[in-house]
Each structure stands twice: as C-alpha cells, then as structure tokens.
Symmetry: C2
Amino acid sequence: MSYDLFYWPGIQGRGEFVRLALEDAGATYRDVAREPHGMKEMQQLLAQHAPLRAVFAPPFLRDGDRLISQVAAILLHLGPRLGLAPVDEAQSLYAHQIQLTISDIVNEVHDTHHPISNALYYEDQKDAAKARSKAFRTERIPKYLKWFEAILAENPAGSRQLVGLTTSYVDLSLFQLVTGLGYAFPRTMKKALKTTPRVADLTAAIAERPRLSAYLASDRRVAFNEEGIFRHYPELDGA
Amino acid sequence: MSYDLFYWPGIQGRGEFVRLALEDAGATYRDVAREPHGMKEMQQLLAQHAPLRAVFAPPFLRDGDRLISQVAAILLHLGPRLGLAPVDEAQSLYAHQIQLTISDIVNEVHDTHHPISNALYYEDQKDAAKARSKAFRTERIPKYLKWFEAILAENPAGSRQLVGLTTSYVDLSLFQLVTGLGYAFPRTMKKALKTTPRVADLTAAIAERPRLSAYLASDRRVAFNEEGIFRHYPELDGA
C-alpha cells in the first residue's frame, strides 16, 4: 500500500502530524509537493472540486482514488491501516477526540504569531502577537499540558500511551506538539514540563522509537523554522 | 434512545451544532446544564479524568456510559444513529472533513472578538478585534463561502445537500454557520451570499425543515447574544 501526502514543502506545519504516522509505521509514501513538479500537482488538486474530493487546505492524503483532508480525519483513516490506532470503537473515537483537541491547540499556536491575519507579516502584528502569546503561555499551555498529564495518569494500561495498551497516532501527535512548543517557547516549556512528567516522558520515549528516531535524524525531517506553525521568536516566549 | 447534552447555558455556542442534529432528528435528549443543578453535574464531569472520559471543554454528549467531546466527533458518532449521515464510508468521512473545516471557521469567528485572550473582555482587545475582523470579513468569509458553494455545485446528486443524496448533519451545521455569521456580520453576509446562491438556498431550506423550524421558534433555541461565539458588534462588521 502506498500513500501520497500533499503538503507545503519547506515547513513541518500540519503535514508533520501525518508524516510522523507514516514514518513510524514504515509506510511507503510520496511526499508529493517536495518532488519536482509536485507543487503544481498539489495546486491542481486544491483547485479541483470533484465530488467527495474538495480540499480546503493542505495537508491532504491520496489513498487510491480518495482524497482526504484535515489532519484529524487523515489520521482517523490512516490509524487502523498503519496499526497506529486502537481497535476498539470507543477507544478509537476517544483517540480522535484527543487529536481534535491537538488540532485546536495547533490553531492557537499559529495565532500566537499571526493573531490578526495570515495575509500580514509577523512584524506587522507583533504587538498583538506578544499579547496573545503571553495569554497562551500563561493560561493555555499549562491547562493543555495538565489535561494530557491527567489522561496519561488515568490510563489503566499505564502512562506510556494516551489511549489503550499500545502507541497510537495520537501519541505521535502529542510528541510533535510538545516538541514544537519546546522549539517555539523553550523557556515556558522547560518550566511547564517539570509539572507534567508523564507528558515529558512520553515525548522522550516516542523520539526513541526506532523508525521515528531514524526519520528524525534524516533529511526527510524538515527543520523547525520561522515559516511554519511553531516559530521561535524569543520576544513571544517572555524573554 | 436518549442522550444527555452538556453545554454552557445561555448561549448557542458550539453546543448548538449538536442541538440542531438532535432536534432535527426528533431525538429524546436532556440539555443537562440548563436544568436545575445541571451546571454542577457538568462541572463534575469536566473535572473527572476517568479512562476514555476526559473532556477538555463543553460541549460533550453522554450516550449510555460513554462521554464524547468535540463537536465534530460528537456528530460523527450521532450522525448515523440519528439518520443524519451518509451510510457510505467514503461519504461519511468526507462529511466529517467538511465538519472539521466548519469547526476551524467557528474558531476563527470566536477570535474575531477575542483575538488576544479569552480571559480579557472584548473591550480590552477591541483594536485587535477590529483588525482581525477586517481580515476575516475580507479574506476568510469569501474564501469559505466559495468553497461551500463549489461543493454544492459539484454534488452529482444536486445542490440541496453538501454530501450524497440526503440532508446530513453537515448541512445543519452549515445552516448554523451561515445564520450565525449573518447575525454577527449582517452587512458582510448580505453582500457575500449574493455570490453564493447555493449556500443561501441551502440555509433557507434547512430552516424550513418541519422539526427544525418548530425548534427555531421554540424557547429551546437560545437567542443569539453577545456572550456566544457569534456576536454582533457593528464596529466589527465594517459599519
């Protein structure tokens, strides 16, 4: 089985949540927009509104003749196919709910540096970005991390995964979220993770999974940078 | 079958997307937090982190011993049970993708009046709200409406529903989105809907569905107000 992933080249962004699942599972996939002429192919699909194939924005996945967009929907589809989702239906929907909360957080992270408009440069919305980041750092990050910590603490199968007995895509996504927040807000996260040791331990453990650690060390992993979702602007980290 | 819906009383908010599906289907449900002592029950469930039951925020649904949160996940669960979802698996996931895009839009609508922080009053972030709303009105609303219009235009079964042959929860959600935007940004929407007649027609048709029109005229429908997601501040509508 081979998949085609479509996402903006040059950034990790939202596409990375899908990429991590594909890489961890050792799936065969094309990262289309990073190939020659791949951007053109992606743009054509985005402009197309064929039945059942309307995509609002990348990332999207092509699986056979299907196009699937929205990170959480892609992972809902891919999870069982990659062996990275709970089999039980209630657990599966629960994992999806956690993933949807991660999507909400990612939207908030984006807005820490772009609180006014995507069409404006960061520099042109910097004051609002500072104010929004302060609220995000002091109110939202602690609340979210505490929520994940509680889920891990209450998992009857142990706190090595969020849902059920084995690692699922939602653990990989939490790894990406925590790693990205650590890049963007290192001072804040260093302190915050001390109070959520299970989240810190899970993040460290995911990074050591064999296929994932090989991927993270490869040039397939785009480096964090100031074009993506997670951006390091020291002034937004309360420095 | 009876359901328990948990959402903040006094506003339509995100809970309304679930309520519309329950009402349109004629389902039996309790709107728990609007009952005496219901808020206490909701707060207790929010504070609880039992396995598979962690909820980040309302709305959430109790179905038997299950708690399900996140609007799109609730509707993914409820849709087939209420006869308001496509039966076909690909169509079902496609409807979910559209719903997830609606969730993203709802987050953006919230941020038009709260671009900096939920913990601040609107009045204390009004300048940023004006700037963000201008971008939302001029860049985002047209882009989103055009996207829905294209989906309706391309549905081989006709433009009376977004997916497949019959009305699904995602049509009800589009009705709520368009109606809410019409409340918040009447000037903008009056103009915008002229260029997306299929979206306008769908919205009007949904409002006339027998159970839904009875609901909309009842006191179970909370009126739009300036505590909810969709708020009418004339200064944000470019007035």
